[in-house]
Each structure stands twice: as structure tokens, then as C-alpha cells.
Amino acid sequence: MSLRTTPFHARTGPLSEGQAWRRWAGYVVASAYELSHDREYHAIRNSAALFDVSPLYKYMVTGKDAARLLDHVVTRHVAKAKVGQVLYTPWCDNDGKQIDDGTISVLNEQTFRMTSADPTLRWLHLNSSGLDVGIEDVSERTAAVSLQGPSSRAILQIAAERDLSALKYFRLTSATIRGIPVTISRTGYTGDLGYEVWVDAGQAVPLWDAIVETGAAYGITPAGMLALDVARIEAGLLLIEVDYFSSRHALIEAQKSSPLELGLGWTVATDKERYNGQAALDAERRRGPSWQFTGLTVDWDSLERLYADVGLPPRLPSQAWRMSVPIYDRGGQRQVGYATSGGWSPLLKRYMALAHLESASAAPGTEVRMEVTVEHRRKQATARVTPLPFFNPERKRA
């Protein structure tokens, strides 16, 4: 097989009922284990869903200047973070255009684990000249599962035989599960209560077994990327190569975005030394970004009418979609942006989309029109700008 399987494949492989796999960073991971992803989606919001997230790129950055290197690369303020903290952060080129986004875990003062969607080793090396720092690609050596949902804490507490209620949102702790050393971080890509468990790849299978066996009484459900796609849209979390293009892959300027245009202004530090893109971002912040990344809720009645006109009940996407869809102003004439992801939320009973809108059209509540194809014809459904996230349960941080 020319694509790699993850360290959990001995367990995830036999679970696949429909042989539906998706590529991710050169690996295959399950799109859905069951024939439909419905139950896997609902597990995220109802009990606990278990995802194999091993294909993430992972780097260990160590040494006296580790924090300095990371602070030079990313937009968050790494040196200020406490040991045990996890930072979600984008990083930019010198023009302040986003290259990638990921997390930085502060394992101790001189040891950081960075995750990314694209390979980042070279970029880290390029930025490390003159610094006393070690950079190691541990992508293949480290496996990870993500346990997401309201029951995730109860399951992990039993598996790790310790109280996790003190572990706050975006904090991590080391632990053992059936004697296997792991790192547990309270992170995820679903906007729900959830954890990611990081383990040496050689111990991946016994870790999977321990979590699945413990979780059985709590309705644990292995889940694939289709379910995750819906949850991450509900959570308003963006996805590289779908919702934005890495500035390093963009072919023209217009394909690039800045963190300020992507709704990530909160991750751009204003209180640290020079870092990649700082000047450009400072200037952009002063003049205000031209684009905003925001939620859209498609008006049901409007969609229903478009379909009723051709004698059909509304058709809704059965999976989250990833494509560029034009957004027009409320008059339907002038294009004011484009949606990049969308789908039906089975929980919220809403048709939602993530969109890039010109700042003037991006205020919450603004009425716009989204292109929909109804029986082969282009139509426009009314939609309303909705602040992200669409769904933000208290338990996420509680």
C-alpha cells in the first residue's frame, strides 16, 4: 500500500463497514466506520466519539531558545504560556499571510510539542538560525486519539484512574492508562468537552483497547472524518486547504488570508517582540481587515420555497460540503464573498455555512444570499450572518 496506515489501524481497519477511507497527510483514516456517519456525529454531542488523529504533523522543539523560536514563528505569545498550557495558534509569512495553524503544548519550560496540518520542519529550521534549539519531527513516533463528547471526561477518568475535573480547557497533564505513559490534553476539533491523548506509537493499540473497553458502558463510538466535519463547522473551526489556503501554496495574492481576516485576531499577540508578519499584521489591524470569516445560517423558508417552486421538498446536504459557493448582497446582484464549508446541523436543525465576507457585509444579522443549485439551476437562498461558533456548550470549558 502506498499510503500509510496509522498505528491504530490494527483496530480501526476491521471496524470499517463500508471501506470508506479518507486521505490525510499521506495516511488513510476512516471517513466513517458505519455505513452512515450519523451515529458517529451524534456521539460527539451525546456520549463520546473516538477519533484517530495520528496523521497530524508533530514536532518536538526543545532547548534554551525553544520558546524564542516559537515566538518568532507563531502569532500567539508562547513565552507567556505556563507549563501545562496548550496554545492554538496560526503562523504567518512576513506579509502577515497565514501559512498554517496548529497547537503548541508547553510540556516544560524548554520542551514544546507543536502540531501542524502541513509539514513544518523546514520552516522551523529556517527560523532557528543562531538559536540554541533542537527540532525533531516526531510525527511517526507519536500516535494520538481524540475523545470528544459529554462523556469523554467520565471515560478518561476511569481509564487513567484519576480525577480530571481540575484539568482546564487547553491544559494538559501526563498520566498513565493501564500502565501506558500518555499525555492528556483538553483539546479537540469539535467545540465540545473533549480530550486528546498522545502516546508512543508502539503503545497505540493497547491504548485504543483500554479506552474503548472503558468507554463501552458510556456509549463510546469510534468516529470518522465525516462526523468530525459536521462538528467542526458547528464549532466554527476552520480547515486549511478548505477554508483558507496556506500562503506557501497560494498561486496568487488573492488566495492568501491573514489571521485577522480569518476571525483569528484573538490569536495575534500585541505584546511580544518581532515575529513573522508582525509589521504587516499591525498595519492591517490599524486599518481594519478587508475580509471577515463568519458563519451563515441559510433561511429555511427561503430554501423551502426554492424547492417548492419545482415541486420538491428541500434537499439538504447529507454530508458537510467543501467547495466555494458565491455569496451575494441582499439584492442578489453584487457578490460580497464566498462560503467555503457548509452543511446541515442535525443537532441545531439549521443549514449552516462558513464564509469569507467583505467586512462591510459581515456584521452579525446582515442578510445576504447564498447560491444554491436547485434541480440543476442556480438559485439564491436568503442567509443571515451568524457569529461563530454556531454551537458552544457550557461543558466545553466547564
Partner: protein
């Protein structure tokens, strides 16, 4: 008057899901609203109660099939905790040890049907398509205030015209199918499509729920359709289970209503509606307190709304006779069970995905019709039709980790039992249910930790639903649309000014649909109240 001068724009009597929905919509429109609930908790027949420590029972209604998505959106119910989970399979154990299964996956279901009858496997798709069209044809009616065909008011005429155009637009073939659905028995209707008896039995079972009719009684075909409507919007499953049980549905609506400013008072039973000069002006509580309101809305069933809350002298004689004739005839019971572990069914041994869906105890048409025969002559079914789900398999929070709850909807258990219901009769009914399950799942009885048996009399006693009818009045054709609950009074108004009705006993009624509550609120707001 309590507190000297408490006065509301609207008082809603009864905190069931429809009452709460009406209250939430009125509060959303800026009205000051008070909901009065007789029981210590809201929900009416949609309640989840911890009857046995650690085990949560969906006491009465247990699935959510038809809750209108516009209500979920309008009231932002997911923010208030509502999460409807799919319940996607149905397994019917047969008496010869085989089974019939319908799974969430279409190909899988067709292959399963093919095993029983290749012909039926093909017919199934066509049948589904027809029912889809039929449901689409009837759907506008659900969200419409029924026009009165005997009235010449412009609103009624416009409504009738719209309806007429709608039906003419269906075309001959579909109109004929609709007429058949309106007149035939579900058994006869299904005979035209299928040859597999167990398939017809299982399908027809959904046509008898909540009625005092058997699968061979004319008129039951329509109820088949009523249960198909939840499938309409593609992604809306026909059958869903609310996380936390149906009580969580009520709680989420109550929470939304409060967020809009409504006040909800429990342990506050209403004795009478105050009527002055033909206008409702408030209510008297069972404790004697009087509360004033510009309008009063009753979510109770038609019998209690008009014959108990009001003096008959406030109502036209003819109307009183109509309400007296409105049929309830509760025919179903409920057995809720706390289980040490899940039972294994002979037809599909082991524990698996089948436990995440429903088990339908409807092995043959004769079986279901015989169950009805017992009831016709005043007995509970010795071997009843049952719809079984394991709520803890869908929401693990319903039972302690590793343990389970089982919800058994049972038909028939006539309200008017020969000799009347007694504690002994209730237990005998519970035994009949448990023994029947045991016959399909040997070893089941040994796993029971606790059982709660609910007869129609219990339903009436606890929830107030007259004769224990789960739909607040039978879903029979002569009691639907502009006839629900009485000719001329199907538009949520009543003969008493400022007094409205919003329960399942009004159009369209039935199930946790909420359409009655919503339509009533919209009507009230349109009246400018």
C-alpha cells in the same frame, strides 16, 4: 387575587409540550405569560422520571417522531438542551424464530426484505415513494389553521380554495391513493402492495397506535401516513429519541419559554376558568387563588377543557354535545423496566446494533388483530402488540453505566376493562407483557431489576389525559382537521371569548409534534390578543 394585582397577558393551563410551546411563542412576542402545571414538574405526558434509583424512565411518550423543525429553530431548543438522536432500525421477531429487520441503510433493508420476498423488496421502494408523495400532499395541512367548510367567511373560503387547488394539483393517481388512505384499513391498503405477512403486520402496527382500532379496521391507513410525515424532510428521521428522554424535550421548551420571559408555576392545578359576561378573565387555582389574564389558553384535552374547566352553561348546547361525543378510548399502556443487562432475542442472538433501534412485537397480522380482539371485548391483549426500545442504548445517561432501561409501549389495554382496573389487574397486565417478551427473548425476566406498569387509567390519573388516550383524543378520521375537536371550533378559538385551546386535542394533534401549540399561539397573536 394573589399578591393583589397579578395580571398576565396570557395564562396557559397545563405545562405539557404544547402548552409550553404556546407559552414560549407568546412570550417571544412580548406577552407576559404564566403557565400553570398541576404536577410538580412540567411535561405532561412527555416526562422523564427516575422511578428506580439511577434509572430514568420515559414514563409515557418515549419517541419523538414529528417535532416540527421550525419549532426547534424558532425557540432555539438545542441551546436549551434539546438533542434528538436517530433511532434507525426496527427488528420484528417472528414466531418461527426468524425476523424481519429494517435498518438505517437502504440497501441493507432491501436485501433483508429480499430474503422474505424479492417482489416485496421492489415494491418497498415504490411504496416509499408513494407515501412520500402522500405525506407531501398532507404536509401543508399540518401547518395550516383548518378552514371550516361550512363557513362563508373570506378566510375560510380562501383556505378551502387553497386546499382545493392543492389537492387538484396532486393529479388523479395520487388523489386516488389519498382517498384510499383516508378510507381503507391499513391491512387492506398494505395488501395492495406486499405479500410478506410480517412486513404488513409491522407496518400496520403504526396505523393502530393510540386508536381503539385493529389493523383490519377501516380508517387505520390514514394513521400510517400520519407516522410517515416525520420522514418528509429527508434528514428528519421518522423516529428519534431525545437525549434525556421526552422529559428533556419538555424541559428544553420550558427553558426556552423562561428565557423569553414566561413564568412557569408547578404544583398549581387549575380548578376553573373564570368567565365574566361570556369572556374568560382568569383562572381559579385548586387552592382557591384567583389569577387574572387577558386571555386563557387550555392545553388540556377537549373533555377537560370544556366540560371540567368551564360550566356547561357558558357553552352552546350543541357544542357541549359534540365535545361529549369526542372519542378518547385509551387503548395503550406502558411498561418501563430497569435491567441488569440487555436481553438477547432468539431471532437475532447476542447484544448488538439491533438494541439501538426498536423491536416490534408484531409477528403477523393475525397476531395484531387477535390482540385487538381481546380489547374489543374488554380485556387487555394476552399477547399484545409492543414497541420496545432501550433508551440507555441511545443515551447511555438514562441508566447507570453498564445497566439499561427498557421502554415497552403496549397495545391493547382498554381503558374500560371488564370489571375495571385494579392493582391485581395491572400486575396481570404487566405479567402478560413480560411473559410475551420472554417468549421472544428467553432469560429476559431474570434480568429485570424493577418494573413499572402503566395502564390507561394510570395515564389518566397521572397526566390527566381523559381515558388515558395518548393523543388527547383518538386520531380517527372523524376527529381530525376541521372536526378536531368539534365542527366549527377547530381554529383554536372557543365559544368563550378570550379562551383558547392549544393541546393535542386540536388540529393536527398527536405525538410530540408541537404543531397544535405553535398554531394556537400564532392564531392568538393574529387575533391581536
Amino acid at each position: 387575587m394573589k399578591g393583589g394585582g397579578e395580571r398576565y397577558d396570557a395564562i396557559v393551563i397545563g405545562g405539557g409540550h404544547n402548552g409550553l410551546i404556546t407559552a414560549a411563542y407568546l412570550a417571544r412576542a412580548g406577552k407576559s405569560v404564566l403557565v400553570l402545571e398541576r404536577r410538580p414538574r412540567v411535561g405532561g405526558a412527555a416526562v422523564t422520571e427516575e422511578i428506580f434509583p439511577g434509572f430514568k424512565f420515559t414514563m409515557f411518550s418515549y419517541v419523538v417522531s414529528l417535532l416540527r423543525p421550525e419549532i426547534i429553530r424558532d425557540l432555539d431548543l438545542p441551546r436549551h438542551g434539546l438533542h434528538i438522536l436517530p433511532l434507525e432500525s426496527t427488528v420484528t421477531p417472528m414466531e418461527n424464530g426468524d425476523y424481519l429487520a429494517a435498518w438505517g441503510d437502504h440497501d441493507e433493508t432491501r436485501r433483508e426484505l429480499y430474503r422474505h420476498s424479492p417482489r416485496d423488496a421492489e415494491a418497498y421502494d415504490e411504496y416509499g415513494r408513494l407515501m412520500h408523495f402522500m405525506a407531501q400532499a398532507v404536509k401543508p395541512i399540518l401547518s395550516m389553521v383548518p378552514p371550516d367548510p361550512t363557513s362563508f367567511s373570506p378566510g375560510d373560503l380562501a383556505g378551502l380554495l387553497k386546499l382545493g387547488k392543492h389537492f387538484r394539483g396532486l393529479g388523479g393517481e395520487r388523489l386516488h391513493a389519498l382517498v384510499k388512505l383516508m378510507t381503507m384499513s391499513s391491512a387492506d391498503f398494505l395488501d395492495e402492495w406486499f405479500e410478506t405477512d410480517v412486513l404488513k403486520a409491522t407496518k400496520s402496527a403504526s396505523g393502530i397506535i393510540g386508536t381503539f382500532l385493529g389493523p383490519r379496521s377501516p380508517g387505520t391507513a390514514y394513521v400510517l401516513l400520519h407516522h410517515y410525515m416525520g420522514e418528509l424532510d429527508g434528514v428528519f428521521r421518522a423516529w428519534g429519541f431525545a437525549k434525556g428522554g421526552t422529559g428533556a424535550v419538555s424541559e428544553s421548551i420550558a427553558s426556552a419559554a423562561r428565557a423569553f420571559g414566561a413564568e412557569i408555576r408547578c404544583d398549581a392545578g387549575v380548578a376553573k376558568v373564570l368567565v365574566r359576561n361570556g369572556r374568560a378573565s382568569g383562572v381559579v387555582l385548586e387552592n382557591g387563588d384567583e389569577l387574572e389574564a387577558s386571555i386563557v389558553v387550555s392545553s388540556l384535552d377537549p373533555r377537560r377543557t370544556f366540560l371540567q374547566l368551564l360550566d356547561s352553561k357558558e357553552l352552546p348546547d350543541e357544542f357541549v354535545s359534540d365535545i361529549r361525543r369526542f372519542k378518547f378510548r385509551g387503548s395503550s399502556g406502558k411498561v418501563n423496566i430497569a435491567l441488569d443487562s440487555l436481553p438477547s432475542f432468539t431471532c437475532m442472538p447476542g447484544i448488538g446494533r439491533q438494541h439501538r433501534g426498536a423491536f416490534s412485537i408484531s409477528p403477523s397480522l393475525d397476531y395484531v388483530e387477535r390482540a385487538y380482539d381481546d380489547a374489543k371485548y374488554g380485556e387487555f391483549s394476552r399477547r399484545p402488540y409492543m414497541d420496545i426500545v432501550f433508551p440507555s442504548m441511545i443515551d447511555p445517561g438514562m441508566a447507570p453505566p453498564g445497566k439499561h432501561v427498557m421502554s415497552i409501549f403496549v397495545q391493547y389495554a382498554p381503558y374500560k376493562l371488564n370489571g375495571g382496573w385494579t392493582d391485581a389487574k395491572r400486575e396481570a397486565f404487566g405479567d402478560a407483557v413480560v411473559n410475551t417478551v420472554e417468549s421472544f427473548a428467553p432469560g429476559f425476566k431474570a434480568k429485570i431489576l424493577h418494573r413499572q406498569v402503566i395502564t390507561p387509567l394510570d395515564i389518566e390519573r397521572i397526566t390527566g389525559l381523559s381515558e388515558g388516550n395518548i393523543f388527547a383524543g383518538e386520531l380517527a378520521l372523524h376527529q381530525l382537521f376541521f372536526l378536531r375537536p368539534a365542527p366549527g371550533w377547530a381554529k383554536f378559538a372557543t365559544p368563550v371569548r378570550n379562551f383558547y385551546q392549544c393541546g393535542s386535542g386540536t388540529h393536527p394533534g398527536g405525538g410530540i409534534m408541537g404543531a397544535s401549540g405553535r398554531l394556537a399561539a400564532l392564531r392568538i397573536l393574529k387575533d391581536g390578543r
